[in-house]
């Protein structure tokens, strides 16, 4: 068994469960047609002790793709829910939407826009990404500055556990505290606990008007300090991002909402910015989308989180260590720093500087924490009790260990 690669094992699982194989990018995936077939796939994986990985559309895997792992014998078998897609419920006047996990984010966004609403996370780079993949990866958009992270707007979920159990938590209402919020646990769990089947989200009112700006800054630390000043001057900013692409550093942000308010607020932002920023009215949505695409996580190799009070200092340290051609994308509202190689293509290989930056970030704990993007979280270094809780939860929900390949390497197929 150890000589087989993920593709061979996918074929074995497909034969055993009757599930079709599909290509997602360069990956061969199991693509169950319904919940029954997914349960068959998981049952077969348990019997054979194969790791599996729900991958959504595979758009965020980049250099951590199962077929790119150093040891293909331990690579998980990808599962795609591409055939389990579609909006299940959107009642005008409720302000919520419920959809199956395989629904492309773009389709979901278009569906809710028709009722004058928008999704609570702005993910323009997520053209092919699925609802389940986005929630599993714990993604949020730049407009979290105004709305908060996407996980705050997940109202409920249905998942399948590794033993085939169907379990729901939360519900479809905007306010509900019945039972444990397990959907919060599944969101961002990167497929280590369960496979998300469907989810309900709160919706926001579609803004009447958008406006954005862009201004060059001298260095990362001063750019971030400027960002904090702008936030103080204008608490209604929707997004605020510091970027370095092609060695050029810019602070960019935007407003959205009622047309009259946006128009007034933009004057205040311009005054607070000083200098000669570029200002976008009609093109504001395009600019926002461009910026969002630049922040697509598959273009980056490191994801570093820092409290806002330490972010400027940390950026100064990173800037001194990183090659000047590396890209930076900093969400100034969340203290989230993405670091990637030059260019706008997905990162398909681990950059040479990645380990150095990871070690640097680790050495600064608790000033900051870092994650491998696309990788599972257990490689980070949480506190002992935190790690213990995470392991207990993972084992409690997935005792067979087929979702948690990094949890216990000894469990890998022999």
């Amino acid at each position: 068994m150890s000589q087989t690669n993920a593709s061979d094992r996918a074929h074995l699982l497909g034969q055993g469960s009757g599930c079709a194989l599909e290509e997602v990018g360069e990956l061969i995936c199991l693509a169950p047609k319904d919940q029954g077939q997914l349960a068959e796939v998981l049952g077969e994986a348990r019997r054979r002790s194969f790791f599996v990985l729900p991958i959504g559309a595979g758009s965020q895997l980049a250099w951590c793709r199962p077929d790119a792992l150093d040891d293909p014998a331990h690579a998980p078998i990808p599962i795609s829910l591409m055939h389990m897609a579609g909006v299940l419920e959107q009642i005008p006047g409720e302000g919520t939407v419920t959809a199956q996990a395989g629904t492309p984010w773009r389709d979901l966004a278009q569906a809710v826009e028709q009722s004058g609403e928008c999704l609570p996370a702005d993910l323009p780079g997520a053209t092919t990404s699925t609802l389940g993949g986005i929630l599993g990866a714990g993604r949020s958009g730049p407009n979290r500055l105004r709305y908060g992270p996407l996980r705050h707007h997940v109202l409920g979920m249905q998942v399948m556990l590794s033993d085939g159990t169907l379990a729901k938590s939360g519900g479809r209402l905007v306010k509900n505290v019945t039972g444990f919020d397990l959907h919060r646990l599944y969101t961002g769990s990167r497929g280590t606990l369960a496979i998300i089947l469907e989810a309900s989200l709160r919706l926001m009112a579609l803004p009447e008007r958008e406006w954005s700006f862009s201004i060059p800054v001298a260095d990362c630390a001063s750019g971030f300090t400027k960002a904090l000043e702008i936030q103080q001057a204008m608490p209604r900013l929707h997004w605020l991002v510091l970027t370095r692409t092609q060695s050029e550093l810019r602070l960019q942000g935007g407003l959205a909402g009622r047309a009259s308010q946006v128009k007034t607020d933009q004057e205040r932002v311009l005054t607070a910015l000083g200098g000669t920023p570029e200002s976008f009215d009609g093109q504001a949505p395009t600019e926002r989308k461009r910026l969002g695409e630049e922040g697509a996580e598959n273009r980056h190799a490191w994801d570093i989180g820092s409290p806002l009070t330490h972010c400027a200092e940390l950026l100064g340290i990173l800037e001194a260590q990183l090659p000047t051609e590396t890209n930076l994308w900093v969400d100034c509202g969340a203290g989230r720093i993405l670091v990637g190689p030059a260019g706008d293509a997905p990162v398909t290989e681990k950059p040479s500087w990645a380990e150095t930056i990871g070690a640097e970030a680790t050495s600064l704990r608790p000033l900051c924490v870092h994650r491998h993007l696309h990788d599972q979280w257990t490689e980070s270094n949480p506190t002992t009790t935190q790690a213990d809780w995470q392991q207990r939860l993972t084992r409690g929900l997935d005792p067979a260990g087929i979702f948690s390949m990094t949890l216990d390497p000894e469990k890998a197929p022999a």
Binding site: K175, G179, L182, L308, R371
Partner: protein, 481 residues
């Protein structure tokens, strides 16, 4: 009753902070006074360190633990119905820091909700979740229940405001999730803990997001000739994507109770229903929101619309709303506060059903609720000395819950499940759902010592159907300890 380990508790926290015997009567229930229980002791540690020592001792002795904040909860969640020791946070009252740059506060769990906003105000900040009991309830209790409040319509419930927690688990281990970045490192344990009703441990410290004080606030009341009309106005406002910060409704009985009380706010007594709406933000957007509400209120037959002219009037209007539960004490000595959530498109229907259910049982029902969120609080005034009335109150409460769930609603919007709603978990969730919650609980507290006999029926729905609960919320409410 006196045991060596209770003496050991006294050594840890000081003799005055371990309460036993008749002195512990004040802790025998929380805001759900129908449910009572006596544990072996109440312990009040000062901080995380003392809590660790207490919890390690109780783990050694295998004693169940009931976490408790101010005891303002309304579902029996802080009542020791399964016996054990109540561990309270009453002495944990320190606000450690307020970070105006990161807009974060670091507090002990026993800090009172409204005290945080007072402390944050000089920094131009406030803490958004504002339960009606905010002058008494603690932030740790808010975390346990994922508490709400009127302004959660805009700002969201407590879970959206908790950045980090420090928790002592059943074994006395400290889970330190403070100083976290905006996104969790690994699993979102903070999201799991918030709203878990004390079943994973005792939160001793909390890191909370603060919001900038709004530049502009406007508050209006609209007077309606019927509750139906007020509900329809709200449903249409929601469908029009109104961006108010709070949308509340009070009915005639509640208005009268408020106006007869020290919370008198100048609400018009002739109103069958009162809509209280607040908008906050930039001056222009606030004005547009208020204009839209006024327009809709007129369309739905509002007899009068009045704007608060200044801060003092706004404060009066809110004091009336937040004092409504207390004011109902003028109607009867006891109050059963229901907490259910209706689909926002079915507000009128479910409110009408609640009224019908109460009328059929000859009960006095007051409605005061977070209409914008569909979070209803049908409040039934009663006298607990009247056994038959108690029976009818509980029956009505159960029927309201069932009616709401049948129509796509939920059991609780902000008070939690506690003891009161445990059996109804099976109306909303099936065995697999509840067993999955048990799997999570058992992973973190395998001996199920944290807040036992709350939230989850022990063996999921089977137990409820077989009548195997250790006590019956519908029958004898004295817990078997």
């Amino acid at each position: 009753m006196t045991k060596n380990w209770i003496d050991e508790l006294r050594t840890i926290v000081g003799p005055r902070n371990v309460i036993t015997g008749s002195e512990s009567l004040a802790w025998e229930s929380d805001g759900l006074s129908l449910v009572r229980g006596m544990g072996q002791a109440i312990v009040l540690p000062l901080d995380t360190e003392e809590t660790v020592r207490v919890m390690k001792l109780l783990a050694r002795e295998g004693v169940p633990v009931v976490p408790r904040g101010a005891g303002t909860g309304l579902t029996g969640g802080a009542t020791p119905v399964g016996g054990g020791v109540t561990v309270g946070t009453a002495r944990m009252r320190e606000i450690f820091s307020i970070d105006p740059v990161g807009r974060l506060a670091h507090v002990q769990a026993g800090v009172v909700n409204s005290d945080l906003s007072v402390a944050a105000r000089p920094h131009g900040l406030f803490y958004a979740p504002d339960p009606s009991s905010q002058a008494a309830c603690t932030l740790g209790g808010n975390v346990a229940n994922n508490s709400g409040g009127p302004h959660c319509f805009m700002h969201g419930s407590t879970t959206r405001h908790v950045r980090g927690v420090k928790l002592v688990d059943a074994q006395g281990q400290v889970l330190d999730l403070l100083a976290s970045p905006a996104d969790p490192e690994g699993l979102d344990l903070v999201g799991l803990i918030t709203g878990s009703e004390g079943m994973f441990g005792i939160v001793t410290e909390v890191q909370l997001n603060l919001e900038p004080l709004p530049e502009e606030v406007q508050t209006i009341i609209a007077v309606f000739p019927s509750l139906d009309a007020a509900c329809d106005c709200v449903s249409e406002a929601i469908a029009a994507h109104i961006e108010a910060s709070a949308i509340e409704i009070l009915d005639k009985l509640t208005i009268a109770a408020v106006e007869d009380s020290i919370f008198a706010a100048g609400y018009p007594r002739e109103a069958e229903a009162l809509l209280l709406v607040e908008a906050e933000g930039g001056a222009l957007e606030v004005q547009e929101t208020i204009d839209l509400v006024m327009q809709l209120a007129k369309k739905h037959g509002a007899m009068e619309i009045r704007s608060a002219q200044d801060k003092a009037e706004r404060a009066r209007l809110w004091a009336g709303r937040k004092g409504a539960f207390g004011a109902m004490g003028r109607v009867a000595p006891d109050l059963y506060v229901a907490d259910v959530v209706a689909p926002r498109t079915r507000l009128r229907e479910i409110v009408a059903l609640a009224i019908e259910i109460a009328e059929e049982r000859n009960l006095r029902l007051g409605n005061v609720f977070h209409a914008g969120d569909g979070n209803l609080h049908p409040n039934i005034a009663y006298d607990r000395r009247d056994e038959d009335e108690v029976r009818r109150v509980l029956e009505a409460g159960q029927l309201i819950m069932e009616a709401c769930i049948e129509r796509g609603g939920s059991l609780t919007g902000e008070h939690g499940v506690g003891v009161e709603k445990m059996t109804h978990m099976c109306d909303l969730f099936d065995d697999d759902d509840l067993n999955t919650m048990h799997r999570v609980r058992d992973a973190l507290d395998p001996k199920r010592r944290m807040n036992p006999t709350k939230v989850l029926p022990l063996r999921a729905c089977r137990e409820v159907r077989n009548g195997g609960l250790p006590f019956s919320p519908m029958g004898n409410l004295e817990a078997k300890t």
